[in-house]
């Protein structure tokens, strides 16, 4: 369970953004979490409310966009979204590939403020 330390980083970065913009309070924080990031979105949301208390983010929502795994297939020479991450292979032709183009993302995208 390292989600609490991930949430603390989110709060730190979002608070910086709020201060830099001279905003008063946050309504929502949007983040992108890859399917291979090793982080459980539900656990992030669970920790968030508690960790946000007493910060400019208190009362705001954490909105998580899950980023699917995209592999590059050397045979088709194309990127493809892989729904089933128990097999790293091209969904079109079946060629196994370790060339991950996205899905490790762990990024704070934006903060909606008043």
């Amino acid at each position: 369970m390292h989600e609490l330390s991930v949430v603390r980083s989110i709060i730190e970065l979002a608070t910086e953004a709020i201060r830099d913009a001279n905003a008063v309070r946050a309504i929502a924080v949007r983040i992108r979490v890859g399917a291979l990031a090793g982080v459980a979105p539900e656990a992030l949301v669970f920790c968030y409310d508690v960790a946000a208390r007493g910060t400019p983010l208190e009362g705001s929502h954490l909105v998580v966009e899950v980023v699917p795994v995209v592999l590059h297939c050397p045979t088709c020479d194309r990127d493809a979204v892989v729904a089933d991450i128990s097999r790293f292979a091209c969904p079109a032709c079946g060629t196994p590939t370790a060339d991950v183009r996205s899905g490790r993302d762990l990024e704070i995208e934006s903060v909606e403020v008043m």
Partner: protein
């Protein structure tokens, strides 16, 4: 006041990534090959490392180790018997190592005095995934006692590994371990990943593992010269 959107677009683990990049640069300029060992608890990381350090030292290599655990310095004391410089990181409950912890524990070590530095991560198949420690090689262990389907259950970590070690092979028969299924699953999650099979008890496969490490270290040194 009307609501507005502030674009941030920053990596949440940016601080760790930056520290890891700094460590990687230090390791590179010192010419030390760094291996991050990850696995679930009890997969045999410490025993593999004991054998690895002892053999490397006997072959004239200079090796050191940093080991992370939530509590105790038992593992560091075990590893120190090899004669290699060893340091324990006590994470006090934290389930993974971070680049800052590694940086703090390097302290006064003269990195150029080492050929290999091993970082034994906290036993955890999830949380260790996202934290870059500046390593050149990430090795995941899968003990035959854990079952063949661990890679399918923990795809993020197994996919992030550069090599896999199937450990405790002396127990394979007793556990009815399906070797082919394990290899198929490892390759399903990380196509082409090199797989080494070892036993810390009988030393089976140890020579191949050491040859693999030496070969990877040579490639690392070669790439420094070219770069």
């Amino acid at each position: 006041m009307t609501p507005r959107i502030l674009e941030v677009r920053k990596g949440i683990l940016k601080k760790n990534d930056e520290l890891a990049a700094g460590l990687r640069e230090r390791f590179r300029s010192a010419g030390v090959f760094v291996v991050n060992l990850v696995s679930g608890p009890g997969a045999g990381k410490t025993l593999l490392l004991e054998r690895t350090l002892a053999t490397l030292m006997a072959q004239g290599f200079r090796a050191a180790a940093i080991v992370g655990d939530p509590e105790t310095d038992n593992d560091a004391r075990r590893l120190a018997r090899s004669g290699a410089p060893t340091r324990q990181i006590r994470t006090h409950g934290i389930c993974h190592l971070e680049a800052a912890m590694v940086g703090d524990h390097l302290a006064d070590w003269e990195l150029a005095d080492f050929d290999f530095l091993f970082i034994e991560n906290v036993g955890n198949l999830v949380c260790t995934t996202s934290y870059d420690l500046g390593e050149s090689l990430r090795v995941v262990l899968l003990a035959v006692t854990e079952g063949e389907d661990k890679p399918l259950k923990y795809p993020a970590l197994f996919n992030s590994a550069d090599a896999a070690v199937v450990s405790k092979c002396d127990l394979a028969e007793a556990c009815e371990f399906d070797r082919d299924a394990a290899r198929t699953n490892l390759h399903a999650i990380r196509p082409g990943v090199p797989i080494l099979e070892t036993s810390g008890k009988t030393n089976a496969g140890l020579a191949e593992w050491l040859a693999f490490l030496t070969e990877r270290r040579n490639a690392f040194l070669e790439s420094q010269r070219v770069g």
